[in-house]
Amino acid sequence: MKFFYWISQTKIWESVFRTKLPISTNLDRALVIFNSLSLHIHPIKVRERAIKFTYTFYLGMISFFLFLVLTITGILLMLYYQPAIPNAYENMKDLKYVVSNGNFLRNMHRWSAHLMVISVFLHMLRVFFKGAYRPPRQFNWIVGVVLLIITLLLSYTGYLLPYDQLSYWAVTVGANIARYVPLIGEELSFLLLGGNNIGEYTLVRFYVLHCVILPAFMVMLIAFHFWRIRKDGGLL
């Protein structure tokens, strides 16, 4: 106990946790929330009903948690993956047959991705039916819609990476849909595929989108989304 007390008085502890121990006043309690990144998502004052499970079903938090799982498993999968032909498909086989727990990683990544799309969508429904898109939260609603689109794009770009028949034709369909965009359709499809046909450059393009560009936007917008929750007066 003495040791713990000593630790809590060190400069390192102080610079990390910022709150002076022991906590005795209401101000101290408010400061704990105020100074913490993970706790200050909620505003300082929260309605009791807003933190009940049946009010939000924790859908936003579940989505965020799945995103974390996806990031961790995704980074581990990147260690075994080369965005090249025919290596990409052979890497899938290696993950399945040779890499320790490789199949588990891949399945985790895949199921989390499916679940994330579902939970993000349900989250949107919940917000819609509670009327939380109305002012002053109208801007955060828009951010949320963008996050939904990014979630779908992440799913779509990840679909090509195993480079099997399923992914090949899924991306072919996607590129053909892009072709129907008026005026810039052809160029858009060319930009997407990195050429006129699906090939190595498409694979690299989708890989970079899936692993760098889209997750970066995702992280920034998630942070912004959370910050707005607090600024707009908490959950509704």
Partner: protein, 656 residues
């Protein structure tokens, strides 16, 4: 109280979660291959011979050139361990092959999923891999991926498949790389060749009814199609521009029932060894049609003209043009007309037949539908080329491109090919491919060959392709003679060509000119146990001269010579001792009337063989004939010289 309950729930879910997390590593640990390797180590201890246990762990063969990774050796631990020949799979030693299996890998030949490590996914067709392990009966198809057109002695099935594909003339309807459409009879003048339409009717119904070894398959035509096609064919009376049947000579009309005349025909028929190629009631060669009923099929006039000059009617037929006189040919015709008759045939049956008004259009339609023009030429307007699918890469045809119909087979490429060859209309009743009558071995052989036609990008240094230009290299006068007598139907040149008779690449250095001259006059079977012999082609003396000149100037080897510095005196005596005692040559060869029947008799070796060749042959027989059974004894040059000297003393009396 409430907090306690929450804590309990938290604790229980945490434990459950940890247990769930343990599933994956446990599954990894208790995997199939690990227990197989342990099993190997356990059973290795019990073996009478010492087999080293293996370290537990995944193993693989990585072939950089082919860019393949095969993990088969993780379980197939004994493939290169000779002590495990008697073990059961998966530990059995690999059968002996010419390649280094540890470098080449497995899937290049056996197919299957080399990357996988679970039994079903490696060996069987699964959702994500449609090329299961190739059954062993087709394994030679993999040899054919690199050894293109090479007739290796270790690939009998593949070679047989290729021969069958050539024989059945598959190339007339399908594009098959390296296989040329073989020549098939033209139908021009068929209306003038056959006695009456009955023969064509029964032939079209099923060629096998007329002749067991008919090379034409059964097109399973309907009765209506047969009638219109027959009438259509019967309307072609002309053999082509300027080609007419010569009338039979008077000598034929005068003597056609004369027994002596018929007997002369029979003698000529026998001397020319017509049955080397033709069969008579099933006995004889299988290269040409059966002659048993030819007298009831073709007009006597046509037979006479045809024997005189087959290429006048069938420009590229392999039948040689015999140098027989008109009288002899007429006698042979009389012989055929008197003996080779179908006694059951009723000639008068269809005398009064009147064809339907639209028989020509209808017949032409049938002719085109079944691509008769693919094999047979016919000078008629409106004949179209209506080929079947290209088979260039049939071995890698995608399974989703195949229409399986209602056929009850496992969906693999080899099942598709085998079923299709066995019963061409099994997947689709309206298919056009005709029914061949093949036994199971033949079906397997053809399937094997077709499976070897893959669209794989193998490195260039893997490919061994036979040069097909050799046979056309014989030019000029000699080339014409080779052509006329169809020499390469039986003989080969640089091992390309027929496989029935000896290779002629260095014949000029092997045989004495004088002996060859005699041989052309009366060919005989050199080995007593071999029945086949060269037919008497009645080649004229001038032609023989040309051929011998060609043999002695072009078909020779420069590397045959007897080295200097060998003991010359008393060589024959020493040779006799070596021949009879040390090497026991008489086990196979006859000399002085005694010896075995497997090798060639050597009583005329001095007449027949040239010294340098005989010497070189003794030193290394396989160099000159790779599949000969004569052993390479490793005798010294002096010994070979002595035996050569001894053998050269044997000459037939009176032929000096």
């Amino acid at each position: 109280m409430k907090i306690d309950r929450l804590r309990k729930i938290y604790a229980v879910t945490s434990v459950l979660f940890l247990v769930a997390l343990a599933i994956s590593p446990l599954k990894d640990y208790f995997t199939e291959w690990r227990s197989i390797q342990k099993n190997f180590n356990d059973s290795a201890e019990k073996l009478p011979v010492k087999v080293n246990p293996v370290n537990i762990g995944l193993q693989q063969i990585w072939n950089r050139e082919l860019n393949t990774i095969d993990r088969c050796i993780t379980c197939h631990l004994g493939i290169s361990n000779n002590k495990l020949k008697m073990s059961n799979q998966p530990f059995k030693t690999h059968s002996k092959i010419y390649h280094d299996i540890e470098k080449l890998g497995c899937t290049i030949c056996h197919e299957g999923q080399g990357l996988a490590t679970r039994y079903e996914e490696v060996h069987l067709p699964t959702e994500f891999w449609d090329q299961p392990i190739l059954p062993n009966r087709y394994i030679e198809s993999s040899c054919g991926k690199c050894h293109i057109g090479e007739k290796l002695s270790s690939t009998p099935t593949l070679n047989k498949g290729r021969e069958l594909i050539e024989k059945l003339n598959c190339a007339s309807c399908h594009d098959i790389p390296g296989i040329k459409k073989s020549y098939t009879l033209t139908l021009d003048g068929i209306g003038n060749k056959v006695l009456n339409r009955n023969w064509i009717l029964s032939w079209l119904k099923n060629p096998k009814h007329y002749q067991d070894n008919a090379s034409m398959p059964n097109f399973l035509l309907t009765e209506k199609e047969i009638v219109s096609l027959t009438d259509f064919l019967m309307s072609f009376k002309s053999f082509g521009e300027g080609i007419n049947l010569e009338p039979l000579p008077d000598v034929y009309h005068k003597n056609k029932t004369n027994e002596d005349f018929i007997a002369l025909g029979q003698t000529r028929f026998r001397e020319a060894r017509c049955i080397s190629c033709h069969s008579v009631e099933g006995k004889g060669g299988k290269l040409a049609i059966d002659l048993s009923k030819v007298g009831s099929k073709a007009k006597a006039e046509w037979i006479y003209n045809y024997i005189k000059n087959p290429r006048k009617f069938q420009s590229k037929i392999e039948m040689p043009q015999y140098g027989l006189s008109d009288n002899d040919v007429a006698a042979v015709t009389a012989y055929l007309e008197s003996e080779f008759v179908d006694w059951d045939n009723d000639e008068n049956e269809s005398r009064d037949h009147t064809p339907l008004p639209n028989f020509f259009e209808e017949g032409l339609r049938v002719f085109n539908t079944y691509n008769c023009g693919g094999c047979h030429t016919l000078s008629a307007k409106g004949i179209t080329d209506n080929r079947g699918p290209d088979l260039t890469a049939i071995g890698s045809k995608k399974l989703y491109q195949i229409d399986w119909g209602k056929a009850d087979v496992n969906y693999t490429i080899y099942n598709f090919l085998e079923s299709k060859i066995r019963e061409p209309r099994v997947f689709d009743e309206s298919a056009r491919m005709p029914q061949f009558s093949l036994n199971e071995d033949e079906v397997t052989a053809i399937t094997t060959y077709l499976l070897s036609l893959k669209q794989t990008k193998l490195p260039a240094n893997f490919i061994r392709k036979v040069d097909e230009r050799t046979l056309n290299s014989v030019q000029g006068e000699a080339g014409k003679i080779f052509q006329k007598y169809s020499c390469f139907k039986c003989h080969s040149l640089n091992y390309a060509g027929g496989s029935m008779a000896p290779d002629l690449t260095i014949v000029g250095s092997q045989l004495n000119t004088k002996w060859m001259k005699e041989y052309f006059k009366v060919p005989y079977s050199i080995r007593p146990i071999v029945e086949e012999r060269m037919p008497n082609l009645f080649i004229s003396e001038k032609e023989v001269e040309t051929l011998l000149n060609y043999f002695n100037t072009i078909l020779i080897s420069d590397s045959l010579e007897i080295p200097n510095g060998l003991l010359q005196n008393r060589a024959e005596e020493r040779g006799k001792g070596l021949f009879k005692e040390k090497y026991g040559c008489q086990g196979c060869h006859i000399i002085e009337g005694e010896g075995g029947y497997v090798g060639t008799p050597l009583d005329d070796a001095g007449d027949r063989l040239k010294p340098a060749y005989l010497f070189s042959w003794l030193m290394n027989p396989q160099k000159y004939k790779p599949n000969t059974i004569e052993p390479r004894t490793g005798m010294s040059a002096q010994e070979a010289f002595d035996i050569t000297s001894y053998l050269l003393t044997f000459k037939k009396p009176g032929k000096q």
